[in-house]
Symmetry: C2
Subunit: 325 residues, 2 copies
């Protein structure tokens, strides 16, 4: 089942979307918004699945042709966005680029930060421009959306709390982050709103590409006409989503509709490219002593998409242009 | 005007509360929840003020006697909780206790972290117990609730975005925080859900105790029968709320219903006591070489309240007991 939110008001209007993303149907009798469905997920999911089955079979008379450009983020605002850094290769590179080692405890204790979720950009929303010195960057990630997760949920129990998955462009202002992190309280001005993919999907939509912890498909990232990277999301993901959920829930319960991100997808195999600019710049620094690839400038476009093994877009594409300065 | 949320569902049921907190009236014709009112604040506030005027004059036939124990947090969940550290005395003490100086840039660039807001405890909700080594602590703070704040709003324009104020118990697990902050990504497991006061109030309820930036009243903090502290919230608050809002909005807009906290209220005048345990422990460490005051244990009670100059409770009291271990 694929779910999206048509642009409407602050929370969008929930629609069930066909597997090929071409058709949709509104479900006001089930839930007005995706958050409302997540708030009563067990009951709503059953009814939404019935609608989805009808939509696939062509038996839904209310279905309409969908232009994915009409979609906001599946959750145009959320009560929680927690972003992990599960691909330790990316973290290692960041440390090496500043001459440090990866602290060994980061192999057992996930890095994760509390991000802003009061505004989540739609897949086609422009990226606000930033001065060159702010270092505007994208980060292509996978995120899960959970139902209510009790405090102290163990990783072995956490997979069942993954009710939906989507893609994220975790927008970063690299020029502001070092000074902000040096203050010791994490990210704030360095992380303007993230964008989500057109739809969020239930795990079964991924077939055996979802093993309950990781998504075994490449995440394609384009910058303009260039394929910037296509790392395999199932490789080098040191912590699976259940471990990330368990970490987040260690001392508190998580409310329904919590988004938990994987962190920038990153493979040790360099031929796969990178899912953010700063990683390529770190590789350039290690190789040439200085970065060569510039950060995003007004007018540039970023496209993030995941295709299944048959080449079909799973979540639709995040396709954002940097607005004029 | 004072607003509260009766315990009901995930978001409570919005009520207008009388200035003396003894009576309330539901307003389903205006907005079902406080978040819904904040989403359309200008229109709703006018109508809520009419209800409040009737309630004060005794002309509201639908009013009922209120037991503040029936109130959840004014926002039982919120889309954003940003916590500043505006009382630099507290920050200075924290640094001195570990032998460091306050970096001078923290006098011009506010410390602020993105906190969890998917669950906000009600004023009487128990505090989940924590092992002694986790160091369960309270932090008494003032918070503002904003309407929509555009990206790049200057401090000089930010005061008008303060639509409500409330109190916060920013619960902290001191034993977990040093290792967590050392990871570099801010707070997560060290900050379980915060609690809010019974009501949120419009700035005019504070009279001239609100100067558009600070609240000039003492914040009373009791631990069991002991008055733990009563620092003056208007003193030693280095950054006013408009500066905190401007900092938060530097690179992104803030959605309606954003909560922004002052950080632990803290005065240089030590006779006022402290608004959190760790501050007293830092003072003890500086004076005696080691802390003497233990963190919270199961069965202990914390009470946080602000009285106006006539001795009336402005927000009602946060009164929490640590649940049995």
């Amino acid at each position: 089942m694929k779910l999206g939110s048509l642009r409407e008001g602050r929370d969008g209007r929930l629609v069930v979307v066909s597997s090929d993303l071409s058709r949709a149907t509104a479900v006001p009798d089930v839930a007005p918004t995706l958050q409302a469905a997540l708030d009563d997920w067990e009951a709503c999911a059953r009814r939404l699945r019935d609608v989805a089955a009808k939509l696939e079979s062509g038996a839904d008379g209310r279905a309409f042709d969908l232009d994915t450009r009409d979609l906001a983020a599946p959750l145009p605002r959320a009560y929680q966005w927690l972003d992990g850094s599960a691909y330790l290769h990316h973290v290692e590179l960041a440390r090496r680029a500043r001459g440090a080692e990866l602290p060994p405890e980061l192999r057992s204790d996930p890095l994760m930060y509390q991000g802003g979720s009061d505004v989540l950009l739609g897949p086609r929303d422009p990226l606000p421009p930033a001065p060159d010195s702010d270092g505007l960057d994208f980060e292509a990630e996978i995120a899960v959306i959970t139902d209510d997760v009790p405090r102290g949920t163990a990783a072995s129990e956490a997979a069942r709390h993954v009710v939906l998955l989507t893609l994220v462009n975790d927008v970063s202002l690299r020029g502001l982050i070092p000074a902000e992190l040096a203050k010791g309280f994490g990210f704030l001005v360095g992380k303007p709103p993230s964008a989500l993919a057109p739809v969020a999907v239930t795990p079964d939509e991924l077939g055996d590409a979802w093993d309950g912890a990781r998504v075994h498909l490449p995440l394609r990232v384009q910058r303009g006409a260039e394929l910037f990277g296509a790392p395999e999301a199932g490789e080098d993901m040191h912590f699976g989503f259940p471990e990330l959920i368990a970490h987040a829930a260690r001392t508190r319960r998580l409310g329904a509709g919590t988004l938990i991100g994987s962190g920038t997808v990153s493979n040790r195999d360099r031929t796969r490219g990178s899912a953010c600019i700063v990683e390529r710049r770190m590789l350039e620094t290690l190789e040439h002593g200085a970065p060569r690839t510039p950060f995003l400038r007004p007018g540039e476009r970023v496209r993030i998409e995941m295709l299944d093994r048959e080449g079909r877009s799973v979540f639709g594409a995040i396709e954002q242009e940097v607005a004029p300065g």
